[in-house]
Symmetry: C2
Subunit: 746 residues, 2 copies
Amino acid sequence: MPSATRRSGPDMRFPIAAFLLLLITMPFGPARAEDGYDLWLRYRPMEAAALAQYRPAAMGIVAEGTSPTLNAARDELLQGLSGLLDKRIASGAVADGAVVIGTPASSPQVAGLKLPLTALGPEGYLIRSVSLGGHPVTVIAANSDIGVLYGSFAFLRLIQTRQALARLDIASKPDIQIRALDHWDNLDGTIERGYAGHSIFDWHKIPDYMDPRYTVLARADASVGINAISLNNVSADAWMLSPLYIDKVAALAAVMRPYGIKVYVAARFSAPMEIGKLKTADPADPQVQAWWKQEADSIYRLIPDFGGFVVKANSEGQPGPRDYGKSQAEGANVIADALKPHGGTVFWRAFVYSEKDATDRAKQAYNEFKPQDGVFHDNVFVQTKNGAIDFQPREPVHPLFGAMPRTNLALEVQLTKEYLGFATHLVYLPVLWKEVLDWDTLAKGKGSTVARIIDGSLEGHARSAMVGVSNVGDDRNWSGSIFNQADWYGFGRMAWDLKISPEQIGREWLGMTFDNDPGFATAMIPLMMASREAVVDYMTPLGLHHLMATNSHYGPGPWVSDLSRPEWNPVYYHRADARGVGFDRTPSGSDATSQYAPPIAKLFAGPDIPEKFLLWFQHVAWDHKMKSGRTLWDELVVHYDTGIATVGQMRRSWDAAKPHVDSERWAQTAAFLAIQEKEARWWRDACIAYFETFSHMPMPAGHAAPPHDVAYYKAVYLPYAPGAPGVTSSPFKNTPKDPPKDLPVP
Amino acid sequence: MPSATRRSGPDMRFPIAAFLLLLITMPFGPARAEDGYDLWLRYRPMEAAALAQYRPAAMGIVAEGTSPTLNAARDELLQGLSGLLDKRIASGAVADGAVVIGTPASSPQVAGLKLPLTALGPEGYLIRSVSLGGHPVTVIAANSDIGVLYGSFAFLRLIQTRQALARLDIASKPDIQIRALDHWDNLDGTIERGYAGHSIFDWHKIPDYMDPRYTVLARADASVGINAISLNNVSADAWMLSPLYIDKVAALAAVMRPYGIKVYVAARFSAPMEIGKLKTADPADPQVQAWWKQEADSIYRLIPDFGGFVVKANSEGQPGPRDYGKSQAEGANVIADALKPHGGTVFWRAFVYSEKDATDRAKQAYNEFKPQDGVFHDNVFVQTKNGAIDFQPREPVHPLFGAMPRTNLALEVQLTKEYLGFATHLVYLPVLWKEVLDWDTLAKGKGSTVARIIDGSLEGHARSAMVGVSNVGDDRNWSGSIFNQADWYGFGRMAWDLKISPEQIGREWLGMTFDNDPGFATAMIPLMMASREAVVDYMTPLGLHHLMATNSHYGPGPWVSDLSRPEWNPVYYHRADARGVGFDRTPSGSDATSQYAPPIAKLFAGPDIPEKFLLWFQHVAWDHKMKSGRTLWDELVVHYDTGIATVGQMRRSWDAAKPHVDSERWAQTAAFLAIQEKEARWWRDACIAYFETFSHMPMPAGHAAPPHDVAYYKAVYLPYAPGAPGVTSSPFKNTPKDPPKDLPVP
């Protein structure tokens, strides 16, 4: 055997020998760096003490029956256990310490155990320590092959996080049926608001060449229970529905299928014209209806388990039913009806605001969608962002939650970090999502949480979905930073189990990704938990929002006031003036508060509003006395500085974590935290310098004034910030627009 | 120590023990795939028989003195030898089998040997078996630290390719002084004509985060002697010269510096206006001259060893001195004079053709530049593509070679494969370059080869340079395919040694990249050597050229005739009509032949023209009798089919190579070869179907007619082909331009 294959097939070189432990020289060559590619599926050998404890509990795999999904489960266990236990684990017969996997249908051994599987549903699993033919074994059982795969990943997780394997009796099933990630990838390889490189999907070579990374993507998604992905930007390209591209979609669906992942595509509403050559895309037109039906039929011929379409209609320039005087529901239902015979689903996005409507942007989606409650067909989800503006560091929950009881509502959150510092800022998002899920809308009295709305239990809906905007790109570490992987991991874990805590997710992820040392987690969990409030503090404290620079959304731009549409300007949102700052959304203002349940509406419009939402809903005097006793102005400054101080503490925590992390991943994270602190100061200094031009108040004692005046910060221009393809790049390509001669860089 | 560091620091876990060989359990976890990331620097353990032979010849490293470059040499040897010899190699004192590295200045041991180093020049090296203090050792010596690094890579190459280490006496120095790669990377991350993903340079995060890949890039370049890189697209963005970006350039220069690589940037000629806020970029304007001087001064303050500028002026829309009625030389000299005090260089590209000049495009660069011979200042290179059109599968050599004896001429070749099938076609480019280097211009009589022109020896020039357009992107395998790495490897080897054969380069690369089995090389070298003629045959046989689809340059488009500029249309180049095909460039036509030395001009204009250039220079009747006895039409068809047959043979050779290659790299290459064969048929069928509409001749016996008529091939439209940023993507984004309903895909 040539040396070229030395590393990739060591287990083939050494047939089973007489010795219990096979001793060979370890290669001394360049060790592959820990570059984050392996995500939380690293499967590195456990510490020696743990090996002795865990090896007897996983001596081999018993996998009866075969299917692509069962094979994936078996292979994952073989690979994972061999790595973790640092010995070759094989498939075989029942013996002491075996891990027996299967469904009653696939495995007579599992069937014979007569396990209580019914309540687990189609995706749940059971992991139980049992005796089989006199042998103590662990069984991983489910009603379906995919349940077995999920159980296998859960079993590996137990070992990866050093949980006890004795007397296991774990039953788990998902709270949410469709746990989806939307990739906002353009067909030219750019990613809208993507900060982890370019698209992982190499459309040009698909289907002729299928990159092995697609399979790793499927494994990673399945390992945390994600069972749906949408492949392209919601600002959709009609080409995606052409036969050329549907062939490519089918090839990706084939990769995803064994891992229980259904593929969706974002559909452009006007595709009946662009691809179908019709004169209209009016949903009332019979030819249009026939086109969607024929399109769906032809897709399902190639992809029998195709998920369906995600549609962004009449939003930010996208075509939609309103172009023809039809309602959002009329548009959604035509497409839904085409998918219905095949079991497909439409995710119809509620992220709309009109270029003609002068109503407070925060109110528009509610105004447009609430009257249509009950009109959407049952295979439609109205996919609603967690807040009414757009993925700000903190938003009050979207008022549509609780307002559409007769509609399937899907929650959309982001993993990519638009408005949150992009790839380099460490902001642990499960904290934000948990705040959203636990939000009590009071729609049907106390306990009407967002979690109970989206899982269907509050209104008795049969369908449920939670959607994340993916943070995956072709960066080697997949998500742009190592800690961004925690958001991917956490999204899947939380969509499966709405009650899981961010701390629990964090502990799992830290152990699987870095080190199971308890002291490490003790130091890191506070860092992760604090990171979300930090970004609120240093970017948009006390309910401020939408203060970022234009187009790129990179860095501060609270002064921007010259964009053509009023609601694109930060000044529209903060409304700073000589008296104070904040958007009056009380009944004396835009009255957005009235879109919430009456007790919440009253709270948000009154003096007892939680201060974290203060400036979102109220215009407040600069000298207003806060609960702390400080003036609003002083409190703002304190929050900005608290945010920076928190990042400083995060940096020190990370410095102390060096013994627990390999050098490459440590260094990258350290460099990113330094960027985060620098940019936190940039946000703080720019915003304080700007708001001071209204407040004219002195800095509170102990807080330094910004080193420059606001003109300095306004002049900062950084071209080519990532994630805004065709916006930051094109206009300045070759013809920089008035670049300052000595560009001030913060 | 936590398990997280297990793989990355094995040598730290085991202090020197009493046992000669340290035996430990090998990790059984998931082996990292052979994904091509390690290039030809894989350093995998040698086969057992070789270990016994090679270990005694490299027992340890003796490295006296330190410098960043000497440290890089020592570290590369330690890493490489430890990997290859599968044992820990350390630095230490002289002993039997030591490898002693250094310069007389850095190392008393080396100085004491009084080696004949003078003739090696500033970059050459000597590798010699000597006795030192009674110990047999190998010494790697040079006049400079960088020579030591080059020698260290050469020593590793000897082992990687299983050359004997006994009685070594190797002296080597480069034939060319500046061995440069130009990256055509845009600041927004796209790459002009790049087919290996997006830019490896993450400008947004530089200098705050320096990706470890930049260091690997430096190692790979240095390992083959590349000593200059230009960082950005020659269609340059003025931002590159802003202080913001020069800071980033400086950070990359710091990474490259220890590896002997000077950094250049492509400069936009109008930058004095865009960055400098001047009213003009007229090279005669004193303010413009002062601006360039001040710009150069400020760059050199940050980057004392900055290489200089690459300039594409008055070409394809770029600004240049002609905008002000000034000559190319006047433009180049102003910039050169600004660089001169710092030792910097201007690469002034000769790739120009005018939008107003109706002269045969093939003649224009010669017409514009030849009259300026002797006018360019001595730190200017006129950087000239190998052919007068643009990187076609085969072109006659550019007539400027031999025509500018008083000018420094640099040869520009491409590694990226525009017009050559992009990443997925296996076309081994050193074959093409060798054909160019060996071309005898007869400028000063027989032996006036391009090699002797660019190395300066023909005219006694003191400066020499060879430039490649890089094929590196952020694809995991760097170059878009494994075999494309051979072009990167080969460019460096050939620029160092103009006489090296493509076969020799191929053998080295195959051994370092895959396997040293002689049978493997015996099978692979013919594949690689045949690959270049294959692409000529299936795309543009017998001197045809520029037949590709518009914008993307992907796939055939010989019928295109509607572009605004005549020389953008394939019909301009092939001139097919009822009588025949080919561009009459004889004196009865455009008279481009007269730009060559008289004997060549006569040959190309006459009946004895080599048939491989026939249709480049002559319009030939379809029934013209070729040397084979066939008609031109039949000969064309035979060439097309020969090209396809060669690719078929390449596929079979690769199938047979499976035992020598790991599964991942084998599978990717196999998939790419399948794409290549499919697309070779597409080219053949489309071109034959099209040309048949002129020739009206039947297919020769045994050759099948294309399965479709020409209308079918014309209708093929594949959006988003890579490498043409802003062209393929933008116009069709969201609004596909008339996509056929059922898109024919070949």
